[in-house]
């Protein structure tokens, strides 16, 4: 049942070594303060599912040695270039990569949300994305005539983790239009959320706010983390810290630089 955590670390305690953790894409409320806390704790062997892509978060976790398996459709720093620690890990073979395509991850999470073992998806046939996924199956659609279609097994994460603008003391979290966060929480066994601020009253009592609210029923733990998505953006709240991301891209290009970044921005708990 839901509780407001006494600390960020307490809220994150359900995220254990080796668990399957699903996190949102770079613009949908990435829990960066929580990610730094997980790295400080020294979390290991994560099966990280980034829905459907990632940027700084996956790169940091990979660089810090927290990830065993990565399941996503792309990792990139966007305008700031490739994700250096992700790229190095793939080339060095230090993580297991499950390459996907964006709608496949959405569909696989929705399968778990609906309690079905799989979801169908068009596309994919003839691609190497499909070729290297022996967990995906092709069937002949029983509604067609020689009509192959891919079935994707449900992804049921142990924990969903994201950052949002606000929550109330009943565990309700306002997610606005980023409804994939709702799907993540529905699909996962447990859900941990960091928020910018607490909302007075009950978010479900106001019809306008309720429409953008993930009910506390699905939420296990909430911690306050002001500017908790920094240096990534939080929708409708703040933009990305471009200078910081440029600094990251530069430092993370080498292992030494990355270690320096970790020391300065993660282990030192320093926040702009």
């Amino acid at each position: 049942m839901f509780e407001i955590a006494k600390s960020l670390d307490e809220a994150l305690s359900v995220i254990t070594d080796g668990c399957m953790l699903v996190v949102p894409r770079e613009v949908s409320g990435v829990p960066m303060e929580a990610t730094r806390a997980l790295i400080r704790r020294g979390i290991k062997n994560l099966h990280l599912v980034a829905l459907p892509t990632s940027s700084l978060q996956a790169d940091l976790l990979i660089g810090a040695g927290c990830v065993e398996t990565l399941e996503t459709s792309a990792v990139s720093l966007g305008e700031y270039g490739p994700a250096p620690r992700f790229t190095a890990a793939i080339l060095n073979g230090t993580i297991r990569m499950k390459d996907a395509t964006c709608p496949a991850l959405h569909a696989a999470l929705q399968a778990a949300e609906k309690g079905v073992p799989f979801m169908p998806l068009r596309g994919l046939i003839g691609s190497d994305v499909l070729k290297y996924r022996d967990d995906w199956k092709v069937i002949d659609s029983p509604f067609g005539d020689n009509d192959p279609i891919v079935l994707l097994p449900a992804i049921k994460p142990d924990v969903a983790l994201f950052h949002a603008a606000m929550a109330d003391r009943f565990g309700n979290v306002w997610i606005g239009r980023t409804r994939e966060l709702s799907t993540m929480a529905h699909a996962a066994e447990k859900t941990v959320v960091t928020v910018e601020r607490m909302h007075d009253g009950n978010l479900l009592d106001d019809p306008a706010l309720a429409a953008g609210t993930l009910p506390g029923f699905y939420v296990d733990s909430i911690a306050l983390a002001e500017r908790g998505a920094w240096p990534l953006p939080l929708p409708d709240q703040y933009g990305a810290d471009a200078a910081h991301l440029a600094e990251y891209a530069k430092l993370a290009a080498t292992e030494d630089g990355f270690a320096q970044y970790l020391g300065k921005h993660v282990y030192a708990k320093q926040v702009a």
Binding site: T53, E79, L91, L121, R122, Y132, P148, P235, A243
Partner: protein, 245 residues
């Protein structure tokens, strides 16, 4: 008026977009984004333009899946793809170079290509590095194939490839050279293209963007672009990056 290569490409892509209802632009695609916004300015609000990652330029209210659902409904007419490699069959590679078990190079990943390339009617390929390294006979990894077997559900696929040197159209599994950009030559295109393509008897020069187009791009499109692509807007249009809040 003098113009930058990016402005020529944006103009050309806007023409390729044509009179459609809805253009969507994925991640890391500043030139297609500029072209889509240009098309919207020319069409006085039509087509709808969706720029992935830009709250101001997307109508999505159903989360990150809505782009793909929308495409699955047949409600996205034009999309853009690039590739670390693109081959003569229209295959794109957004994943890796070399052997799959021990790649020599890794790209970010396939994003939505392995789906959108199949279902969006007009996919415009773009690659600003036109070389034998990028335009190859056969990609090392097929993120999404240029064509599919007849029984595979495929209402969509590539219609064109635009590079820093030229414009190709794509049909029946092959590229055809359509125009060569000012300052470039057919011989140069042949020299730097790793795949085989069709070449009509007459290949015109890609027309320069008009003064009106350049004004639209610089005064109206560029400021809109800066929200999502601050570095690109600064480099190409001299629009200054706003500080993050």
């Amino acid at each position: 008026m003098t113009f930058r290569p990016e402005e020529l490409l944006a103009d050309q892509i806007a023409r390729l977009i044509g009179g459609v209802r809805h253009v969507a632009v994925g991640n890391a695609s500043p030139i297609p984004a500029a072209a889509a916004l240009l098309a919207r300015e020319r069409g006085k609000g039509r087509p709808y333009v969706s720029l992935l990652g830009s709250p101001k330029n997307t109508f999505w209210t159903d989360g990150a899946r809505e782009l793909f659902d929308c495409a699955g409904q047949g409600r996205i007419d034009v999309f853009f793809l690039s590739g670390g490699q693109i081959d003569g069959h229209g295959n794109v590679n957004l994943v890796e170079i070399g052997d799959h078990d021990h790649p020599k190079l890794r790209f970010p990943g396939s994003f939505g290509s392995a789906y959108l390339y199949y279902v969006v009617p007009k996919v415009i390929l773009f690659r600003t590095e036109h070389s034998r390294r990028t335009l190859v006979p056969q990609v090392d990894y097929i993120s999404a194939p240029g064509a599919s077997a007849p029984n595979v559900f495929r209402p969509g696929g590539p219609v064109a490839l635009i590079t820093n040197r030229c414009l190709f159209s794509f049909a029946d599994g092959r590229f055809t050279l359509r125009s060569v950009h000012p300052g470039h030559t057919i011989d140069e295109v042949m020299e730097h293209t790793g795949f085989d393509f069709d070449k009509p008897a007459h290949v015109p020069e890609t027309p320069a963007p008009s003064a009106e187009t350049l004004t639209l791009l610089r005064q109206t499109v560029a400021p809109q672009l800066a929200e999502l692509y601050p570095q690109f807007a600064k480099q190409v249009f001299g629009i200054e990056l706003k500080a993050a809040q």
